[in-house]
Symmetry: C2
Subunit: 65 residues, 2 copies
């Protein structure tokens, strides 16, 4: 499912950058529990939140797909 695919990509890039969920959530301006839900594929993330996450990861949004 797309939510799981996106969540896995986010986790992959987050770990590559050596960031904790807490740190990434802080950088993205999102709640940590929300970010955890997105990473686990349980949340139907919106495009605005996804852009915040991509910016915090310094990764083009396109790369999350």
């Amino acid at each position: 499912m797309i939510t799981h695919e996106i969540g896995n990509k986010i986790r992959y890039f987050r770990k590559q950058k050596g960031l904790s969920q807490e740190k990434l959530a802080l950088l993205a301006g999102l709640d940590r529990t929300y970010l955890a839900g997105v990473e686990s594929g349980k949340r139907n993330v919106t495009i605005i939140s996804l852009e915040k996450i991509a910016n915090a990861l310094e990764t083009p949004l396109k790369e999350l797909f």
Copy 2:
């Protein structure tokens, strides 16, 4: 803004396919007014709706970014 960028891409691909908003909404299983809001950049589209739109456009999701 990201919602406008995505909306413009969707409109571009929809017109390329010669589809009306009504037809694309029907193919995607979405409400026409919702799709119109996404195209105009007023709606903060979710990833699941975006996947439905990409599938209906027969376009890889990545291409919408």
